[in-house]
């Protein structure tokens, strides 16, 4: 069983999908000879050729649009957006076409596209390289949005995304690309879609998070455990649809909820989770919900990113706050 990083897990899944299904095609900027700026596609063009692993011209709108066209012919397109801040020019195609093609044609034309992109900051990158824009995607019906938190989950979720016949936005936590290794069995098994994962069971507070913040949240849970506070940690994993049932069940048990995300607070995805709890589990709540999030500022240049990205300390304090409230 190979021990791999998250980005290597993605590479394994892509290789597997390309090998299994001749309709799978990878497109993106610098994904060919260069193997992607994060090396997610390393070696794949050599192995599968320059058409199946295709460097596109430098135009994200084009990547989205050509993906729609290719997918309408039954190709399964896995497109890479080099950094999430460069997603914007592709949004028109994603929202106005990918998300709608099946619906508007009553299933006649479909859009089996996976849009892969790095998510979040923390790697000292220049401006526009550290964005967390999941809400822009999650708000659009007709899309699924996934965010893995470990090499094995990246592998299994990416396979699930590629095999799904509808468009899936696949957000890869940049900070985790090379953070840690994990044994990943390259057995071609996909993970289920639409499901959150309870990473750790606990009794006092539910901590919901996703992507890179999963790790800080687990560390916070460790620290809290030292103080005899038992946390249930949920990796949301599917950012759209949200698996509210898993969260509601947990909150039913703990009565306390802290939501942690790197994205800005205002109209962030944490709001959707808190709102659903306020609607469906109000009487379970023993304390106000707390969101621990990025600030409502633009993502600062990297010298300030450690002050923007929330910390273990903030999560710990938030959890304690729910225990006082």
């Amino acid at each position: 069983m190979p021990r791999v990083t998250l980005v290597e897990g993605i590479n394994l899944a892509l290789a597997r999908a390309l090998a299994d299904d001749p309709d799978v095609v990878l497109i993106g900027e610098d994904i060919g000879v260069n193997g992607g700026v994060f090396r997610a596609t390393a070696g794949l063009q050599q192995r599968f050729g320059a058409l199946r692993v295709q460097d596109t011209p430098l135009a994200e709108g084009l990547i989205g649009g050509m993906a729609v066209g290719m997918a309408s012919q039954g190709l399964k397109v896995v497109a890479e957006i080099q950094f999430m801040g460069f997603l914007y020019p592709a949004l028109d195609q994603i929202a106005n076409h990918m998300a709608r093609m099946r619906n508007r044609t009553r299933g006649r034309l479909t859009c089996p596209v996976v849009m892969r992109m790095p998510h979040g900051g923390g790697i000292h990158a220049p401006e526009h390289h550290s964005e967390s824009l999941e809400v822009l995607l999650a708000h659009h019906a007709g899309l699924r949005v996934l965010c893995p938190s470990s090499p094995a989950r990246a592998y299994g979720l990416l396979l699930a995304a590629i095999r799904d016949p509808d468009p899936v936005m696949f957000l890869e936590p940049t900070r985790l690309y090379r953070l840690a290794k994990q044994d990943v069995l390259d057995d071609g098994r996909a993970l289920p879609l639409d499901e959150a994962v309870v990473l750790r069971e606990g009794d006092d507070v539910t901590l919901v998070t996703w992507g890179a913040m999963v790790h800080d949240t687990l560390r916070a849970a460790d620290e809290l455990m030292n103080e005899k506070i038992s946390c249930e940690v949920i990796d949301l994993s599917s950012l759209s649809p949200i698996d509210h049932d898993t969260i509601l069940e947990s909150v039913g048990h703990t009565g306390r909820l802290v939501i942690v995300h790197e994205a800005a607070r205002n109209a962030g995805l944490g709001a959707e989770i808190a709102a659903t709890v306020a609607e469906k589990a109000l009487y379970d709540l023993l304390a106000p919900v707390v969101r621990v999030t990025g600030y409502d500022t633009v993502m600062p240049y990297f010298a300030m990113e450690r002050s923007y990205i929330l910390s273990v300390a903030r999560i710990v304090d938030a959890a304690k706050q729910t225990l006082q409230g």
Partner: protein, 359 residues
């Protein structure tokens, strides 16, 4: 300074405004049946247009984008394409669509605000109407990329308007098509106006055929009211594409003889004189004259055609007006192949409150 690159744009016209041949005619021009088929489709489009506008005016159809004036271009493109090619239309190219098998009922259903109109029984792989201007052009490039990857001898055709050429997406698509020599033809329908904005305000380009030059893609302009020229130019471009020589930008110069849509009032911005002059160049009469000169057509054929068109249109309107009602599940049925569980709850709410919303 030395010259390192040179480009030229050609113009094709085979029929003058009186319907007289003014160039080397392609074989199909001497094929009575081929010419009759094309002319018949043009007439059907013109009559359908009138009917659809009428339906809209009388509250039986939503906003509708007329095609009057564009018939030669639309029908010629349809005739030049093969059934296995794929069309990425904008919103008014009914002539091409009907030629390819889209039904009048489907067109009406679409403009009645009903998604079922885009579920063409006919060309199953053709794209539906595309409202966000320009965004259909990368689709065509992507379709052509699929053809290339699979070594299929098929072509994609994308329409775009003169106004639409200002969208960056169009240039991105051309550039990709050029770089990969994709089998795709971009048809710019230059009808003089983008709603209220005339061509001269839209761009400094002398022609729209030259829109590909910056991305290494050749272009050709033709008289878009001359069905022979458009079909000839399209056949050449498609042949080029099919044989691996890459994309072409084809500009068809025509005129929008109608308002932009039924929601528009062109008299607010468009000089009447320009419109009157454009009617002198309109495509139907010109084609008919050409056919009459050759003995392909006469008054009795015309009368029979018109009767037949009216009957077709009436049948289509009937089919459209009597299509089964859609219930609120319609909104949920085709969002996903595997819908998330949570949508079920909303589907029930929608059933409960269907048709009560503001409008």
């Amino acid at each position: 300074m030395k010259t390192i690159a040179q480009f030229a744009i050609g113009y094709e016209q085979l029929l003058d405004a009186e319907g007289r041949a003014c160039g080397d005619l392609p074989p199909f021009a001497n094929d009575a049946d081929a010419m009759r088929r094309m002319y018949s489709m043009m007439v059907l489009c013109r009559l359908f247009d009138t009917k659809a506008i009428n339906l809209q005016r009388t509250g039986r159809l939503g906003t509708y984008a007329p095609c009057t004036g564009h018939e030669a271009t639309h029908v010629a493109v349809g005739a030049a394409m093969r059934p296995e090619d794929v069309l990425c239309p904008v919103y008014r190219e009914y002539g091409t669509q009907i030629w390819r098998g889209v039904t009048l009922t489907e067109i009406l259903t679409y403009w009645a605000g009903d998604e079922r109109g885009t579920d063409f029984a006919g060309p199953r792989e053709d794209f539906p109407w595309c409202v966000p201007i320009g965004s259909q052009t990368p689709h065509a490039a992507g379709v052509a990329m699929a053809f290339k990857m699979r070594r299929q001898p098929r072509c994609a055709v994308a329409y775009i308007g003169d106004g639409g050429t200002s969208q960056g997406a169009f240039h991105e698509a051309i550039n990709l098509a050029g770089a990969h020599r994709l089998p795709v033809v971009f048809v710019v329908v230059n009808n003089g106006w983008a709603i209220s904005v005339p061509v001269a305000q839209q761009t400094a380009a002398q022609t729209f055929a030259q829109k590909g030059l910056g991305n290494g893609v050749p272009g050709v302009q033709c008289d878009g009211n001359d069905i022979l020229a458009v079909r000839k130019v399209m056949e050449d471009a498609l042949e080029r594409a099919r044989s691996g020589e890459g994309p072409t930008v084809v500009e068809a110069v025509t005129y929008r003889l109608s308002d932009h849509t039924t929601a528009d009032d062109a008299s607010r911005y468009r000089p009447q004189g320009e419109l009157d002059a454009a009617w002198q160049r309109e495509p139907l009469l010109r084609t008919r004259r050409f056919m009459e000169q050759r003995g392909f057509w006469d008054e009795s054929r015309e009368a029979a055609l018109r009767a037949d068109c009216v009957a077709q249109i009436e049948a289509a309107v009937h089919g459209y007006q009597n299509r089964p009602a859609a219930d609120t599940d319609h909104m949920f049925d085709h969002l996903f192949a595997h819908p998330p569980a949570a949508l079920g709850e909303q589907m029930l709410t929608a059933r409960q409150y269907g048709k009560t919303g503001s409008h």
